[in-house]
């Protein structure tokens, strides 16, 4: 009887338990942990300097010195891949954090205070959302000029909107609930209602959205780098590496396969984790 009572009080308790054991989520976590470890300690362990070119050994096959072979400049692909993860994952993390720092406050204020600020922000958001993300990012990055910084700015500008909208939507439905009214009656000033009562409600859905977005952001960053709008040579970055390998795709496809696989694995693991989180936290997909 004990369990059934627990069920009545919290109907999600049982589901929670069952869903947290989804094997695919665990795989995602496992994979991402390895990738992150590699990013942190990998650069100290790699066999070669990722930037030193050795034209005598260009396009070499895998060997003990060069585990994945060399590229068209004779640089060690493995070392570049490992070092490049810092650029790709670092930028992604930075972009996501910046997006959250911009998107959440605007969404909270827009939803709770409403009025002109809300209409103004939502008009901007509508405008941004009307255009395809990727095209918009290319346009902004192209306008600002090719550099890593500008690449980040363009992705942030494209991405904050969806966070603002989801946060605003939750706030709009929560602010009419009785606990928010009770807080107001209990004398909470506006900032306290937002920070203490509304913010905690949006954390889990936003977290899920962010986890699912990591893959997308990596793809956009890599794609822009591939188009030459992001990381500039000779800095290693996965998208840029893809771009470098393009010319040799017919003869040495590995040049594109390795960075492509790396991107694929990161995106896959992030999506697996994101979906697991979504199920576990029971967030409705927006």
């Amino acid at each position: 009887m004990k369990i059934s009572f627990a069920l009545q009080k919290n109907p999600f308790a049982l589901q929670w338990h069952l869903k947290s054991s989804r094997p695919m989520t665990l795989w995602g976590i496992f994979l991402l942990t390895i990738i992150i470890l590699m990013t942190i300690i990998g650069p100290f362990l790699v066999p070669n300097d990722p930037l030193s070119a050795n034209m005598a050994e260009r396009l070499a096959s895998p060997s003990l010195t060069y585990p994945f072979g060399t590229d068209h400049m004779g640089r060690c692909i493995f070392s570049r891949l490992v070092n490049g993860s810092r650029a790709t994952l670092g930028i992604t993390a930075l972009v996501i954090i910046t997006v959250l720092l911009i998107g959440i406050p605007i969404g909270l204020l827009s939803g709770y205070i409403g009025g002109r600020f809300d209409s103004f922000m939502m008009r901007i958001a509508d405008g941004l959302i009307a255009l395809p993300e990727f095209i918009l990012a290319i346009a902004i990055a192209g306008f600002l000029g090719p550099s890593l910084m500008n690449l980040m700015i363009s992705v942030v500008l494209v991405k904050w909107v969806s966070y603002t909208r989801i946060v605003r939507g939750i706030v709009l439905s929560e602010r009419e609930k009785e606990y928010v009214l009770a807080a107001k009656v209990g004398g909470c000033p506006t900032w306290k209602i937002i920070a203490r009562h509304l913010l905690p409600q949006i954390i889990s859905p936003v977290f899920v959205l962010a986890a699912l977005d990591v893959g997308k952001v990596i793809l956009i960053i890599s794609s822009l780098s591939y188009l030459g709008l992001g990381a500039q040579p000779p800095a290693p970055e996965w998208g840029a590496m893809l771009n470098d390998g393009r010319a040799y795709f017919q003869t040495v496809p590995e040049l594109m396969v390795y960075p492509g696989m790396a991107i694929f694995l990161v995106v896959l693991s992030c999506n697996l984790i994101g979906e697991g989180l979504r199920d576990k936290l029971d967030v409705k997909s927006s």
């Binding site: 009214l181 009770a182 009656v185 209990g186 000033p189 905690p200």
Partner: protein, 253 residues
């Protein structure tokens, strides 16, 4: 203590309240009966200043609530507190319940309820005393709302309602979501608290029997108009409004 004068309210073209007037004495409990759509919850919202009336005045302690704004409104608010119908919605699901209970005291450090004098500024102790007043064990302090039963949650909401020792405590259908055996416990608790702490109650309900038990006077609201207002002991008197009589007939077995 509370005076509602000629209050009207409509949302868009939909008239919810028409010229409603009544008053409440210090220490009195007024029951407000009405069916859904009668505007009884709107009255609560207006008195709590969660919404503004189109016309009329709401006077609490000689201050017109409907004219206040910003800081002054926030200051005045502590004299009127509320307990809502659905205790699962009226507590923040992400806060341990004791934090919800003492939150009003944090917001109004100047408020000093007589029963908390000895433990001023000791938050945890204050919460313990409030819990005890509401008939909750202090072992439940650190629970989250979903870990409590419906009756316990409503007691937590009541503990929060009395925390500032308000002049007026509004109950919006506080027992209609509870099981029968819990209803009786809660109603008994409310009756005890009222005589223990000097407060006035505005008790909103659709159930005439509950209102009869708890209140000294009863107001009947129908389609946004106050159709009847009488002392509870005159409930069965012949000059009741026909609508009141209908409600009584339905409630008798």
């Amino acid at each position: 203590m509370l005076e509602v004068k000629n209050v009207s309210k409509s949302y868009r073209s939909n008239t919810v309240l028409t010229d409603v007037s009544f008053h409440l004495e210090q220490g009195e409990c007024l029951g407000l009966i009405g069916e859904s759509g009668s505007g009884k919850s709107t009255i609560a919202k207006l008195i709590l200043a969660l919404d503004r009336s189109d016309s009329g005045q709401i006077i609490v302690n000689n201050v017109d609530f409907s004219q206040l704004k910003g800081r002054e409104l926030r200051k005045a608010r502590r004299h009127v507190q509320v307990v809502f119908q659905d205790p699962s919605a009226s507590l923040n699901p992400k806060l341990p319940v004791w934090k919800s209970v003492i939150e009003p005291l944090e917001n109004y450090p100047e408020a000093s309820p007589s029963f908390l004098k000895e433990v001023r500024n000791e938050k945890r102790k204050m919460a313990e005393i409030l819990f005890e007043k509401a008939g909750l064990q202090s072992g439940l302090l650190d629970r989250y709302p979903h870990q409590l039963s419906g009756g316990q949650r409503q007691r937590v909401a009541i503990a929060r309602g009395i925390s500032l020792q308000p002049n007026l405590l509004i109950f919006d259908e506080p027992t209609s979501n509870l099981d029968v055996s819990i209803q009786a416990q809660i109603l008994n608790l409310l009756k005890d608290l009222k005589s223990e702490i000097n407060m006035s109650y505005l008790f909103i309900s659709h159930d005439i029997a509950t209102v009869q038990y708890i209140s000294e006077r009863i107001a009947v609201l129908k389609e946004g108009r106050l159709v009847d207002l009488f002392k509870t002991k005159d409930l069965f008197s012949a000059d009741r409004h026909p609508y009141t009589k209908e409600l009584i007939d339905a409630a008798l077995e």
